[in-house]
């Protein structure tokens, strides 16, 4: 996280500008008695520094409003972030012409919530004016935090969208390289994209963005089961998976299923597939097997397709070691295992 643009250190503290010592002490004591922190600006040289600490409210007496003070405060108001509006309480002389001063201050101190009281001011009145200023400050702080959160969310959203686009780009490139015809490309790309879309929705809908291995298997394999002729049995314990793990496993299961349909056990009516997994909660090891039987004998391809190469590369990354591909007379077998709670 980058440093905040503005510090809130003293946004609940009152800064008092009163050249007459007794006035300053009086106001300070009054505020402290009401549990409001306050500090006194003793001269206009240190005023700029004190303003940099961002006061919650500025209380100024009439006689404090000298040109250099007006200028220093104006510079601070100018530099405020857009959500900030400094509450200012001005204590006027008894016979002051309020309207003239009000107009003047409105002009030289823009973006300040100004309150005017004539002296002598009743303590209760002053306190309530300061408290309403502090409350306004708290609202401004809420606004600031919401704005910050929105910036953060937009960044996160942008990051996720970019990642998804990058994934889709990679799927497209991988599919396009492999495809022998436009209709191959369409079919394979559509299948991979819908596996990606499906797992995205499943993870998004899940509480805490965690899904179980069974949910992933059901999502990817269900469409093939519904087609009736296919028999895919999936069995294993509940293993919680985060978004990345669920996405990788979903795409890999999709590759296994489409391979089985094109060349393996699911290319014939009598074939079936067992997807079996086990998980050790103590070691964190997940072991996964995809066993085809009843189909044509599996022959090791002379050249691996991109789907299979992706499977190998993704599973190696996921489990921390390469998976096994077996081409037997009974059919194709795939197995992978590794510690999925590897130290992260």
């Amino acid at each position: 996280m980058s440093e905040p643009l503005f510090s809130f250190g003293k946004m609940q503290e009152v800064l008092i500008l009163a050249p007459y010592r007794r006035d300053a002490d009086y106001v300070r004591q009054l505020l402290l008695a009401h549990e409001i922190d306050a500090s006194v600006a003793t001269d206009s040289d240190t005023l700029a520094d004190q303003l940099r600490g961002v006061p919650g409210v500025l209380v100024a007496t009439h006689e404090a409003l000298k040109p250099e003070v007006l200028e220093t405060v104006a510079a601070h108001l100018e530099a405020q972030p857009s959500w900030s509006e400094l509450p200012v309480v001005v204590l006027l002389d008894k016979n002051a012409r309020t309207e003239t001063l009000r107009l003047h201050l409105n002009r030289v101190w823009p973006r300040a919530r100004q309150l005017f009281y004539h002296r002598p001011v009743r303590p209760a009145e002053l306190i309530s004016g300061v408290q309403s200023g502090l409350l306004a400050r708290r609202r401004q702080q809420d606004l600031y935090e919401n704005l910050e959160r929105e910036v953060e969310l937009r960044r996160e959203l942008n990051h996720r969208v970019k990642n998804i686009l990058a994934s889709v780009t990679s799927i497209f490139e991988m599919t396009a390289r492999q495809a022998a015809s436009l209709s191959d490309l369409k079919q394979d790309f559509r299948g991979r994209l819908s596996a990606l879309a499906g797992i995205h929705s499943t993870v998004f809908d899940a509480a805490g963005e965690q899904v179980s291995m069974s949910e992933v298997a059901a999502l990817i394999l269900e469409p093939y089961r519904r087609e009736g002729a296919y028999r895919i049995r999936a069995s294993g314990p509940d293993v919680p998976l985060n978004r990345e793990a669920a996405t990788t496993l979903a795409l890999c299961l999709h590759e296994l299923a489409t391979n089985a349909i094109k060349y393996g056990a699911l290319s014939v009516d009598d074939g079936n597939v067992d997807l079996i997994w086990s998980h050790s909660q103590t070691s964190g090891e997940l072991a996964l097997s995809w066993i085809e039987c009843g189909g044509p004998p599996a022959k090791e391809p002379s050249r691996l397709g991109y789907g299979t190469r992706y499977l190998r590369s993704a599973m190696t990354m996921f489990f921390g070691n390469p998976p096994t591909f077996e081409y037997t007379v009974e059919g194709f077998r795939f197995s992978a295992k590794g510690n999925i709670s590897r130290p992260n």
């Binding site: 590369s313 993704a314 990354m317 130290p343």
Partner: protein
């Protein structure tokens, strides 16, 4: 073509999205370089660094162990391995600008990868 564009490099990739890693592996080979492998976290890199010989490392910002890409780049730089960020988090990569040679934005293309690799000194 410059000389460095013709140079065959051994390229390693730190990335936690296997799809993108696989795609980049293909692109690296298309460019005539050698892809020496990928790992998904800074932690894994520290444990397995000795198993890889690399001339340059491509690094994502967010990895399986968090936003550790910049730390990994610093760690590799200390071991005299030049790094390029390959990420969608351009603003974070930019903050860590002094650690890496540059940033390749996601999604990556053959051209953007080739351009990025030109930054690797001979």
């Amino acid at each position: 073509m410059t000389r460095s564009a013709n140079r065959r490099m051994r390229i390693f990739y730190l990335e936690d999205n296997p799809l993108i890693a696989f795609h980049v592996e293909q692109l690296v080979e298309d460019l005539g370089h050698t892809y020496v492998g990928s790992l998904d976290s800074f932690k894994a890199l520290k444990l397995q660094f000795e198993n890889y010989s690399m001339d340059v490392a491509l690094i994502d910002v967010d990895l399986a162990d968090g936003r550790t890409g910049p730390h990994a780049a610093r760690w590799l730089k200390d071991r005299k391995i030049p790094c390029l960020f390959l990420t969608g988090q351009d603003h974070i990569a930019a903050d860590a600008g002094d650690i890496a040679l540059g940033t390749i934005s996601k999604p990556v293309s053959l051209q953007s990868l080739a351009d990025g690799l030109l930054l690797v000194p001979e």
